[in-house]
């Protein structure tokens, strides 16, 4: 029997980890992730899981230990945020190239500097080229659900890529909401047993991990990773369908809110998408035909599907909670613009960089974005391609 609990994102994630019962967790604390692993370590101490918990001296060591354990032949998890993710940078790439199906919740927090402990997406967006599958969750329920699905996606034998599941620091990680926690056995049944692929500890079939490549093979190994991502595009909806069958909650590449007949569209990730939903509802009641698209899967980027969902819109406002300094705009804007260009979506697209370092984004501000879109739809002219929402001039 599932039960309803008042949980914040970290507690819900720790609960998911308890139910997954990984073989190894190697982790290092960092705000706002700390309580996830802290709560999990209490489960370890109380004997509620069989996990070997390794207290390491840094996030770099955390990921290195995870890769070692995963290669040895175990189900492995860790969690981090911001500069913790940055510190494990080189190992993050290696987890992917080793094809280690590690699952790592990343609690979105701004990268330093200046030092900032609050939410933005600079950390996970900074890692978008590392070869990990990337999922974003709006609230504690989605954090929990994505964590469970991540294990199935990562370990699928056609995928075998690590997965990072994101949720917003403090807003979701420390915000209590109503979460439906599924029955332990039902979760175990969904996750299934772990199957190791060429593990180090299989001494009857000895294998070596982490070789040197010259220019004669590196490219082929990278091409293999691309193939894993291609399979992920198929596997992610399959896992979601099974999840829906068992637990009733529906997931896809993205979520649409009143998008169908909308003329104007907002595209925004994570918790701010929730606030945008309430703005959309409010504007709709005033006769404005606006809708919301909330991406869930950022890697692999579902370009065709996104383009199809936005094909008939007049103007699209992308909201990026991170920036790429010197680029045309934020990462979501750039990838979506490319997808729309390639898949013949005629809509005008503009970018709003918002919420950096935890700057609160209000319904009023989101409404102003929609006003801009209406203006663009009317006049066909873009006054400003990239705006910084809420920055003090």
């Amino acid at each position: 029997m599932s039960r309803f609990e008042a949980m914040d994102g970290n507690t819900a994630t720790a609960e998911a980890m308890r139910q997954i019962n990984p073989d190894v967790v190697a982790a290092y604390p960092i705000t706002p992730q700390t309580s996830t692993v802290q709560t999990f370590s209490q489960f370890v101490a109380d004997g509620e899981v069989d996990t070997e918990f390794i207290r390491v001296e840094s996030e770099h060591s955390a990921m290195a230990a995870c890769i070692g354990a995963s290669s040895a032949g175990g189900r492995v998890m860790t969690a981090t945020a911001a500069n913790g993710l940055a510190l494990m940078w080189e190992m993050v790439y290696i987890a992917a190239s080793n094809r280690s199906p590690i699952v790592m919740p990343v609690v979105n927090r701004a990268l330093s500097g200046p030092i900032n402990i609050h939410c933005d997406h600079s950390d996970s967006m900074g890692a978008r080229d590392a070869g990990w599958i990337q999922l974003y969750g709006e609230n504690p329920q989605e954090a929990y659900d994505n964590c469970l699905q991540a294990v199935r996606i990562a370990e699928h034998e056609d995928v075998l890529l690590p997965v990072m599941t994101m949720y917003d620091g403090f807003i979701t990680s420390h915000g209590l909401e109503r979460v439906q926690i599924e029955d332990d056995e039902a979760v175990r049944d969904f996750i299934g047993p772990f199957k190791a692929h060429e593990p180090l500890l299989d001494i009857d079939n000895p294998v070596t991990y982490g070789p040197l490549d010259f220019y004669d093979f590196y490219m082929e190994h990278k091409r293999q990773q691309v193939e894993g991502m291609k399979h992920a595009r198929r596997v992610i909806p399959e896992v979601a369908a099974d999840f829906e069958k068992r637990f009733g909650r529906k997931y896809g590449f993205f979520e649409e809110h009143r998008l169908d007949d909308a003329e104007l569209a907002l595209v925004v990730l994570s918790s701010t998408a929730g606030t945008a939903k309430s703005v959309v509802d409010d504007l709709r009641s005033r006769g404005i035909k606006v809708g919301l698209l909330k991406p869930r899967v950022f890697r692999p980027f579902p370009a065709q599907e996104l383009a199809d969902a936005l094909r008939d819109k007049a103007a699209i406002g992308v909201m990026d909670r991170s920036d790429s300094f010197g680029a045309l705009g934020g990462p979501l804007f750039m990838e979506l613009s490319a997808a729309c260009k390639i898949h013949d979506v005629p809509a005008k697209i503009v970018d709003y960089v918002f919420g950096l370092g935890g700057r609160d984004t209000t319904p009023d501000q989101i409404e102003s974005v929609v006003r801009d879109l209406a203006d663009i739809a009317d006049t066909g002219k873009i006054k400003q391609l990239v705006s910084y929402l809420g920055v003090r001039e």
Partner: protein, 115 residues
């Protein structure tokens, strides 16, 4: 210190703090829930409180401990704890303010709307 409403063009680049020692302007006395009070009869001027105070909030003049910088003192109680002769006592801030003991910290005090 920077105006809290300053725009991005008006603040030092890279978040650098270009006013030396401007921590002096950040009065943390309002953080206190308890404040130290010294009994000068007991005090032997060993200055251990001054050594250990993490906020440089012990006032020393002519090698004598003469009081506390209540504008900064956060009420951590380390001075009271370290004093070898128990000359320092921590009293509740609310009590102390109503008895007007020591210098009241007024840095964060907003005038009431009817003043």
């Amino acid at each position: 210190m920077v105006d809290l409403n300053a725009g991005w063009r008006d603040i030092p680049r890279g978040g650098k703090i270009v006013e030396a020692g401007n921590a002096r302007e950040y009065e943390t006395g309002s953080w206190r829930a308890m404040r130290p009070v010294v009994d000068q009869e007991k005090c032997i001027n060993c200055l251990q409180c001054w050594v250990f105070c993490p906020d440089a909030s012990i006032i020393v003049e002519n090698e004598e401990m003469v009081g506390f910088r209540y504008e900064y003192c956060k009420g951590c109680g380390i001075c009271a704890s370290i004093c070898p002769v128990d000359a320092i006592e921590m009293v509740s801030e609310a009590e102390a303010e109503s008895e007007a003991v020591g210098a009241a910290s007024g840095s964060d005090r907003r005038p009431a709307k009817d003043e």
